[in-house]
Protein backbone atom coordinates (compact mmCIF):
# COMPACT_ATOMS: atom_id res chain seq x y z
CA UNK A 1 0.00 0.00 0.00
CA UNK A 2 1.42 3.41 -0.92
CA UNK A 3 1.25 5.84 1.94
CA UNK A 4 0.51 9.41 1.07
CA UNK A 5 2.42 12.20 2.79
CA UNK A 6 -0.72 13.11 4.68
CA UNK A 7 -1.15 9.57 5.98
CA UNK A 8 2.48 9.46 7.04
CA UNK A 9 2.04 12.75 8.91
CA UNK A 10 -1.03 11.46 10.72
CA UNK A 11 0.86 8.33 11.66
CA UNK A 12 3.86 10.31 12.92
CA UNK A 13 1.62 12.65 14.89
CA UNK A 14 -0.27 9.76 16.44
CA UNK A 15 2.99 8.08 17.40
CA UNK A 16 4.43 11.25 18.94
CA UNK A 17 1.20 11.88 20.84
CA UNK A 18 1.28 8.38 22.25
CA UNK A 19 4.95 8.77 23.16
CA UNK A 20 4.22 12.06 24.89
CA UNK A 21 1.45 10.52 26.97
CA UNK A 22 3.62 7.56 27.94
CA UNK A 23 6.49 9.87 28.92
CA UNK A 24 4.17 11.99 31.08
CA UNK A 25 2.88 8.87 32.80
CA UNK A 26 6.43 7.65 33.35
CA UNK A 27 7.35 10.90 35.09
CA UNK A 28 4.66 10.44 37.73
CA UNK A 29 4.89 6.67 37.98
CA UNK A 30 6.01 4.86 41.13
CA UNK A 31 8.92 3.45 39.12
CA UNK A 32 9.81 5.95 36.38
CA UNK A 33 12.79 3.92 35.17
CA UNK A 34 10.67 0.81 34.65
CA UNK A 35 8.01 2.91 32.93
CA UNK A 36 10.65 4.34 30.60
CA UNK A 37 11.93 0.85 29.85
CA UNK A 38 8.38 -0.15 28.95
CA UNK A 39 8.21 2.71 26.43
CA UNK A 40 11.40 1.40 24.81
CA UNK A 41 9.76 -2.02 24.54
CA UNK A 42 6.37 -0.75 23.32
CA UNK A 43 5.82 -2.48 19.97
CA UNK A 44 3.06 -0.04 19.04
CA UNK A 45 5.64 2.75 18.74
CA UNK A 46 7.87 3.16 15.68
CA UNK A 47 11.48 2.06 16.01
CA UNK A 48 12.72 5.67 16.01
CA UNK A 49 10.75 6.51 19.16
CA UNK A 50 11.57 3.24 20.89
CA UNK A 51 15.28 3.90 20.33
CA UNK A 52 14.83 7.41 21.71
CA UNK A 53 13.35 5.98 24.91
CA UNK A 54 16.08 3.33 25.14
CA UNK A 55 18.71 6.09 25.08
CA UNK A 56 17.39 7.60 28.33
CA UNK A 57 19.88 7.40 31.19
CA UNK A 58 18.05 5.75 34.14
CA UNK A 59 19.78 8.05 36.59
CA UNK A 60 18.52 11.06 34.68
CA UNK A 61 14.99 9.62 34.41
CA UNK A 62 14.94 9.14 38.18
CA UNK A 63 16.24 12.66 38.77
CA UNK A 64 13.74 14.25 36.39
CA UNK A 65 10.78 12.47 37.95
CA UNK A 66 11.98 13.55 41.36
CA UNK A 67 12.28 17.17 40.23
CA UNK A 68 8.78 17.06 38.72
CA UNK A 69 7.45 15.94 42.11
CA UNK A 70 9.51 18.51 44.03
CA UNK A 71 8.36 21.34 41.79
CA UNK A 72 4.77 20.27 42.22
CA UNK A 73 5.27 20.10 45.99
CA UNK A 74 6.70 23.63 46.00
CA UNK A 75 3.86 24.83 43.80
CA UNK A 76 1.33 23.42 46.27
CA UNK A 77 3.04 24.90 49.33
CA UNK A 78 3.22 28.25 47.60
CA UNK A 79 -0.40 28.10 46.47
CA UNK A 80 -2.09 26.88 49.63
CA UNK A 81 -1.66 28.46 53.04
CA UNK A 82 -3.40 25.45 54.56
CA UNK A 83 -1.06 22.98 52.89
CA UNK A 84 1.96 25.00 53.97
CA UNK A 85 0.68 25.09 57.53
CA UNK A 86 -0.01 21.34 57.51
CA UNK A 87 3.50 20.64 56.20
CA UNK A 88 5.01 22.85 58.87
CA UNK A 89 3.13 21.12 61.69
CA UNK A 90 3.03 17.51 60.49
CA UNK A 91 5.64 17.10 57.75
CA UNK A 92 5.53 13.28 57.59
CA UNK A 93 1.76 13.12 57.41
CA UNK A 94 1.65 15.86 54.80
CA UNK A 95 4.41 14.21 52.75
CA UNK A 96 2.45 10.92 52.73
CA UNK A 97 -0.67 12.76 51.59
CA UNK A 98 1.28 14.55 48.89
CA UNK A 99 2.81 11.31 47.56
CA UNK A 100 -0.66 9.82 47.22
CA UNK A 101 -1.97 13.01 45.64
CA UNK A 102 0.90 13.17 43.13
CA UNK A 103 0.30 9.61 41.96
CA UNK A 104 -3.47 9.87 41.99
CA UNK A 105 -4.16 13.28 40.51
CA UNK A 106 -2.54 14.21 37.21
CA UNK A 107 -0.56 17.47 37.41
CA UNK A 108 -2.74 19.54 35.07
CA UNK A 109 -2.27 23.05 36.42
CA UNK A 110 0.62 25.51 36.19
CA UNK A 111 -0.01 28.16 38.81
CA UNK A 112 0.35 27.63 42.58
CA UNK A 113 -3.16 28.83 43.42
CA UNK A 114 -4.64 26.34 40.98
CA UNK A 115 -2.56 23.53 42.50
CA UNK A 116 -3.88 24.52 45.92
CA UNK A 117 -7.46 24.32 44.66
CA UNK A 118 -6.82 20.94 43.01
CA UNK A 119 -5.33 19.55 46.22
CA UNK A 120 -8.25 20.83 48.29
CA UNK A 121 -10.72 19.21 45.88
CA UNK A 122 -8.85 15.90 46.09
CA UNK A 123 -8.77 15.98 49.87
CA UNK A 124 -12.47 16.80 49.98
CA UNK A 125 -13.11 13.84 47.71
CA UNK A 126 -11.37 11.46 50.06
CA UNK A 127 -12.99 12.96 53.13
CA UNK A 128 -9.92 14.88 54.18
CA UNK A 129 -11.36 18.37 54.02
CA UNK A 130 -11.39 18.48 57.79
CA UNK A 131 -7.58 18.39 57.76
CA UNK A 132 -7.39 21.52 55.63
CA UNK A 133 -9.94 23.37 57.77
CA UNK A 134 -7.84 22.66 60.83
CA UNK A 135 -4.73 24.00 59.10
CA UNK A 136 -6.58 27.01 57.74
CA UNK A 137 -7.46 27.97 61.30
CA UNK A 138 -3.89 27.25 62.44
CA UNK A 139 -2.47 29.38 59.64
CA UNK A 140 -4.84 32.24 60.45
CA UNK A 141 -3.91 31.97 64.11
CA UNK A 142 -0.21 32.13 63.20
CA UNK A 143 -0.76 35.21 61.06
CA UNK A 144 -2.42 37.12 63.89
CA UNK A 145 0.45 36.47 66.30
Amino acid sequence: MVRTAATQLVTKRAAHLRFERLLAQAMIARDPVAAMRAIADDASLPEELRQAAAAADPRGVEMTALLVARLRFERLIQGSIEAASWFEREPDQFAAAFREYHQTVAPVVFFPADEGRLFADWLRGRGGARNLMHYRMSAQHDQTR
Binding site: H16, E20, L49, A56, V61, T64, V68, F110
Partner: protein, 301 residues
Amino acid sequence: MNRRSSSAIPVGLSLQPDDDFLGLLDPIICEHIDYAEIAPETTWWPTADGALVTNRFHEQFAALIDTAGLFAVAHGVGMSMATASTDDQARQQRWLERIRDDQQRFAYRWYSDHLGASSLAGMCMMLPMPMPMTEFSAHIVQDRLRAMQSVIGDVGIENSAFYFMLGTPLAEADFLTAIVHPPGLHLVLDLHNLYTLSVNTEVDIAAYLARLPWSKVIEIHLSGGADSDPAWLPGGQTMRLDSHDHAVPEPVWSLLDAVLPRCRNLRGITVERMEGTVTPSDVPLIAEEIHRARSASAKLR
Protein backbone atom coordinates in the same frame (compact mmCIF):
# COMPACT_ATOMS: atom_id res chain seq x y z
CA MET B 1 31.63 50.71 36.56
CA ASN B 2 29.58 52.65 33.97
CA ARG B 3 27.20 50.38 32.14
CA ARG B 4 26.73 52.72 29.28
CA SER B 5 30.33 52.90 28.22
CA SER B 6 32.34 49.76 28.37
CA SER B 7 30.93 47.00 26.19
CA ALA B 8 29.49 46.65 22.73
CA ILE B 9 27.24 43.81 23.84
CA PRO B 10 24.58 44.62 26.44
CA VAL B 11 24.67 42.74 29.71
CA GLY B 12 21.47 41.82 31.53
CA LEU B 13 20.14 40.19 34.67
CA SER B 14 17.11 38.00 35.23
CA LEU B 15 14.44 39.65 37.39
CA GLN B 16 12.68 37.40 39.88
CA PRO B 17 9.33 37.84 41.66
CA ASP B 18 11.07 37.95 45.02
CA ASP B 19 11.19 41.05 47.23
CA ASP B 20 14.51 40.09 48.81
CA PHE B 21 16.04 39.49 45.37
CA LEU B 22 14.84 42.84 44.06
CA GLY B 23 15.78 44.71 47.21
CA LEU B 24 19.27 43.29 47.50
CA LEU B 25 20.07 43.65 43.81
CA ASP B 26 18.44 47.06 43.29
CA PRO B 27 21.78 48.93 43.06
CA ILE B 28 23.01 46.45 40.44
CA ILE B 29 19.75 46.64 38.50
CA CYS B 30 19.68 50.42 38.55
CA GLU B 31 23.33 51.10 37.80
CA HIS B 32 25.14 48.17 36.26
CA ILE B 33 23.00 46.34 33.71
CA ASP B 34 21.59 47.23 30.31
CA TYR B 35 18.53 45.03 30.25
CA ALA B 36 16.24 42.87 32.32
CA GLU B 37 15.27 39.32 31.47
CA ILE B 38 11.71 38.53 32.54
CA ALA B 39 9.85 35.23 32.54
CA PRO B 40 6.43 36.59 31.56
CA GLU B 41 4.51 33.93 33.46
CA THR B 42 6.05 35.09 36.76
CA THR B 43 4.14 38.36 36.40
CA TRP B 44 0.68 36.78 36.05
CA TRP B 45 -1.97 35.36 38.32
CA PRO B 46 -4.78 33.06 37.20
CA THR B 47 -8.35 33.90 38.08
CA ALA B 48 -10.76 31.11 38.98
CA ASP B 49 -12.16 31.15 35.42
CA GLY B 50 -8.71 30.73 33.88
CA ALA B 51 -8.07 34.32 32.81
CA LEU B 52 -4.55 35.68 33.33
CA VAL B 53 -4.26 38.94 35.21
CA THR B 54 -1.13 40.77 36.24
CA ASN B 55 0.30 40.29 39.71
CA ARG B 56 2.12 43.01 41.66
CA PHE B 57 5.48 42.14 40.13
CA HIS B 58 4.20 43.04 36.67
CA GLU B 59 4.06 46.74 37.45
CA GLN B 60 7.01 46.51 39.82
CA PHE B 61 9.23 45.13 37.04
CA ALA B 62 7.89 47.64 34.54
CA ALA B 63 8.51 50.57 36.89
CA LEU B 64 12.00 49.30 37.68
CA ILE B 65 12.83 49.01 33.99
CA ASP B 66 11.56 52.55 33.35
CA THR B 67 13.41 54.01 36.33
CA ALA B 68 16.68 52.26 35.52
CA GLY B 69 16.49 53.00 31.79
CA LEU B 70 16.66 49.35 30.78
CA PHE B 71 15.23 47.42 27.89
CA ALA B 72 13.53 44.06 28.46
CA VAL B 73 13.68 40.59 26.95
CA ALA B 74 11.21 37.80 27.60
CA HIS B 75 12.44 34.34 28.53
CA GLY B 76 9.77 31.88 29.58
CA VAL B 77 9.76 28.30 30.74
CA GLY B 78 6.11 27.43 30.34
CA MET B 79 5.24 27.79 26.65
CA SER B 80 6.15 24.12 26.16
CA MET B 81 7.86 24.38 22.82
CA ALA B 82 7.90 20.71 21.84
CA THR B 83 4.44 19.58 22.90
CA ALA B 84 2.70 17.72 20.10
CA SER B 85 -0.54 17.36 22.05
CA THR B 86 -3.40 19.74 21.41
CA ASP B 87 -4.55 19.36 25.03
CA ASP B 88 -2.45 22.38 25.89
CA GLN B 89 -3.47 24.54 22.95
CA ALA B 90 -6.06 26.67 24.75
CA ARG B 91 -3.60 27.49 27.54
CA GLN B 92 -0.87 28.40 25.07
CA GLN B 93 -3.26 30.67 23.20
CA ARG B 94 -4.22 32.42 26.45
CA TRP B 95 -0.55 32.91 27.23
CA LEU B 96 0.18 34.40 23.83
CA GLU B 97 -2.71 36.84 24.18
CA ARG B 98 -1.45 37.80 27.63
CA ILE B 99 2.05 38.39 26.25
CA ARG B 100 0.55 40.47 23.45
CA ASP B 101 -0.92 42.73 26.16
CA ASP B 102 2.37 42.72 28.09
CA GLN B 103 4.22 43.81 24.97
CA GLN B 104 2.45 47.18 25.22
CA ARG B 105 4.12 47.71 28.60
CA PHE B 106 7.46 45.94 28.32
CA ALA B 107 8.34 46.23 24.61
CA TYR B 108 10.32 42.98 24.81
CA ARG B 109 13.07 43.04 22.20
CA TRP B 110 12.97 39.28 21.78
CA TYR B 111 11.14 36.33 23.28
CA SER B 112 12.67 32.93 23.97
CA ASP B 113 11.72 29.73 25.72
CA HIS B 114 13.32 26.39 26.48
CA LEU B 115 13.77 23.44 24.18
CA GLY B 116 11.52 20.68 25.44
CA ALA B 117 7.98 20.16 26.60
CA SER B 118 6.93 21.44 30.02
CA SER B 119 3.42 20.26 29.26
CA LEU B 120 3.03 16.63 28.17
CA ALA B 121 -0.36 15.34 27.04
CA GLY B 122 -2.02 18.08 29.09
CA MET B 123 0.05 17.37 32.20
CA CYS B 124 2.21 20.12 33.65
CA MET B 125 5.76 18.94 34.30
CA MET B 126 7.03 22.46 35.16
CA LEU B 127 10.48 21.74 33.80
CA PRO B 128 11.14 21.11 30.12
CA MET B 129 11.15 17.43 29.20
CA PRO B 130 13.33 16.15 26.40
CA MET B 131 11.51 15.09 23.26
CA PRO B 132 12.64 12.71 20.51
CA MET B 133 14.87 14.71 18.22
CA THR B 134 12.90 13.85 15.10
CA GLU B 135 12.00 15.94 12.09
CA PHE B 136 8.43 15.92 13.35
CA SER B 137 9.48 17.34 16.75
CA ALA B 138 11.57 20.03 15.04
CA HIS B 139 8.50 21.14 13.06
CA ILE B 140 6.45 21.31 16.26
CA VAL B 141 9.02 23.62 17.86
CA GLN B 142 9.19 25.76 14.72
CA ASP B 143 5.39 26.09 14.68
CA ARG B 144 5.47 27.22 18.29
CA LEU B 145 8.22 29.75 17.55
CA ARG B 146 6.17 31.10 14.64
CA ALA B 147 3.16 31.50 16.94
CA MET B 148 5.37 33.47 19.33
CA GLN B 149 6.60 35.51 16.37
CA SER B 150 3.05 36.73 15.80
CA VAL B 151 3.47 38.60 19.10
CA ILE B 152 7.17 39.50 19.17
CA GLY B 153 9.12 39.45 15.93
CA ASP B 154 12.39 37.97 17.16
CA VAL B 155 12.06 34.64 18.93
CA GLY B 156 14.48 32.03 20.14
CA ILE B 157 14.93 28.61 21.67
CA GLU B 158 17.32 27.83 24.49
CA ASN B 159 19.32 24.64 24.97
CA SER B 160 17.81 23.10 28.12
CA ALA B 161 19.50 21.22 30.94
CA PHE B 162 17.96 17.80 30.44
CA TYR B 163 18.92 15.11 32.93
CA PHE B 164 18.21 12.39 30.41
CA MET B 165 18.16 12.62 26.64
CA LEU B 166 16.14 10.86 23.99
CA GLY B 167 19.12 10.51 21.70
CA THR B 168 22.78 11.48 21.88
CA PRO B 169 23.95 14.81 23.28
CA LEU B 170 25.65 15.69 20.01
CA ALA B 171 22.37 15.10 18.19
CA GLU B 172 20.91 17.92 20.28
CA ALA B 173 23.29 20.40 18.65
CA ASP B 174 22.15 19.25 15.20
CA PHE B 175 18.52 19.39 16.36
CA LEU B 176 18.87 22.99 17.56
CA THR B 177 20.54 23.93 14.29
CA ALA B 178 17.67 22.45 12.28
CA ILE B 179 15.05 24.20 14.41
CA VAL B 180 16.45 27.72 14.14
CA HIS B 181 17.37 27.48 10.45
CA PRO B 182 14.42 29.63 9.16
CA PRO B 183 14.76 33.43 9.21
CA GLY B 184 13.85 35.21 12.44
CA LEU B 185 14.43 32.15 14.62
CA HIS B 186 17.37 32.36 17.00
CA LEU B 187 19.34 30.38 19.53
CA VAL B 188 19.78 31.34 23.16
CA LEU B 189 22.94 29.55 24.26
CA ASP B 190 22.94 28.73 27.93
CA LEU B 191 26.52 27.94 28.82
CA HIS B 192 25.73 26.53 32.26
CA ASN B 193 23.17 24.18 30.70
CA LEU B 194 25.88 23.05 28.29
CA TYR B 195 28.35 22.62 31.15
CA THR B 196 25.73 20.65 33.11
CA LEU B 197 25.23 18.39 30.08
CA SER B 198 28.97 17.80 29.83
CA VAL B 199 29.25 16.87 33.52
CA ASN B 200 26.26 14.53 33.45
CA THR B 201 26.93 12.86 30.08
CA GLU B 202 30.66 13.39 29.42
CA VAL B 203 29.80 14.82 26.01
CA ASP B 204 32.72 16.41 24.15
CA ILE B 205 31.85 20.10 24.49
CA ALA B 206 34.12 21.11 21.60
CA ALA B 207 32.33 18.65 19.31
CA TYR B 208 28.94 20.00 20.49
CA LEU B 209 29.99 23.60 19.93
CA ALA B 210 31.34 22.79 16.46
CA ARG B 211 27.81 21.82 15.36
CA LEU B 212 26.02 24.96 16.55
CA PRO B 213 24.72 27.68 14.19
CA TRP B 214 26.82 30.57 15.51
CA SER B 215 25.22 33.22 13.35
CA LYS B 216 21.94 32.39 15.06
CA VAL B 217 23.10 32.93 18.63
CA ILE B 218 21.26 36.01 19.83
CA GLU B 219 21.84 35.72 23.56
CA ILE B 220 24.14 33.91 25.99
CA HIS B 221 23.06 32.88 29.47
CA LEU B 222 25.41 32.53 32.43
CA SER B 223 24.45 30.95 35.71
CA GLY B 224 25.60 28.52 38.35
CA GLY B 225 24.31 25.31 39.83
CA ALA B 226 25.10 22.58 42.30
CA ASP B 227 25.39 18.86 42.69
CA SER B 228 22.23 17.06 43.76
CA ASP B 229 21.80 15.71 47.27
CA PRO B 230 23.33 12.19 47.46
CA ALA B 231 20.15 11.05 49.23
CA TRP B 232 18.04 11.68 46.14
CA LEU B 233 19.25 8.89 43.86
CA PRO B 234 19.94 5.21 44.54
CA GLY B 235 23.43 4.35 45.71
CA GLY B 236 24.27 7.93 46.61
CA GLN B 237 24.69 8.94 42.96
CA THR B 238 24.65 12.63 42.21
CA MET B 239 24.07 14.73 39.13
CA ARG B 240 24.90 18.32 38.36
CA LEU B 241 21.75 20.46 38.56
CA ASP B 242 21.01 23.61 36.65
CA SER B 243 19.66 25.20 39.79
CA HIS B 244 20.69 28.85 39.16
CA ASP B 245 21.54 29.17 42.82
CA HIS B 246 25.29 29.59 42.94
CA ALA B 247 28.04 31.62 41.34
CA VAL B 248 28.94 31.10 37.69
CA PRO B 249 31.68 28.42 37.80
CA GLU B 250 35.05 28.88 36.10
CA PRO B 251 34.40 26.31 33.34
CA VAL B 252 31.42 28.41 32.25
CA TRP B 253 33.58 31.55 32.10
CA SER B 254 36.05 29.61 29.96
CA LEU B 255 33.20 28.63 27.65
CA LEU B 256 32.18 32.27 27.38
CA ASP B 257 35.68 33.28 26.30
CA ALA B 258 35.70 30.45 23.76
CA VAL B 259 32.32 31.20 22.17
CA LEU B 260 32.15 35.00 22.18
CA PRO B 261 34.34 35.46 19.08
CA ARG B 262 32.04 33.13 17.12
CA CYS B 263 28.78 34.96 17.96
CA ARG B 264 28.76 37.79 15.44
CA ASN B 265 25.04 38.51 15.92
CA LEU B 266 25.02 38.41 19.71
CA ARG B 267 22.66 40.95 21.29
CA GLY B 268 22.99 40.20 24.97
CA ILE B 269 24.70 38.30 27.77
CA THR B 270 22.38 37.51 30.69
CA VAL B 271 23.41 36.57 34.21
CA GLU B 272 20.72 34.45 35.82
CA ARG B 273 19.82 33.66 39.41
CA MET B 274 16.66 32.03 40.74
CA GLU B 275 14.35 33.55 43.28
CA GLY B 276 15.17 32.66 46.86
CA THR B 277 18.88 32.24 46.11
CA VAL B 278 20.29 35.71 46.77
CA THR B 279 21.62 36.69 50.19
CA PRO B 280 23.57 39.84 51.09
CA SER B 281 26.85 38.00 50.59
CA ASP B 282 25.83 37.18 46.99
CA VAL B 283 25.46 40.82 45.99
CA PRO B 284 29.16 41.60 45.39
CA LEU B 285 29.52 38.21 43.63
CA ILE B 286 26.71 39.02 41.22
CA ALA B 287 28.09 42.51 40.67
CA GLU B 288 31.42 40.94 39.81
CA GLU B 289 29.72 38.51 37.39
CA ILE B 290 28.06 41.40 35.57
CA HIS B 291 31.40 43.18 35.40
CA ARG B 292 33.22 40.06 34.21
CA ALA B 293 30.64 39.41 31.46
CA ARG B 294 31.02 43.01 30.33
CA SER B 295 34.82 42.78 30.33
CA ALA B 296 34.73 39.54 28.34
CA SER B 297 32.62 41.12 25.61
CA ALA B 298 34.67 44.32 25.62
CA LYS B 299 37.72 42.31 24.50
CA LEU B 300 35.94 41.70 21.21
CA ARG B 301 36.02 45.38 20.24
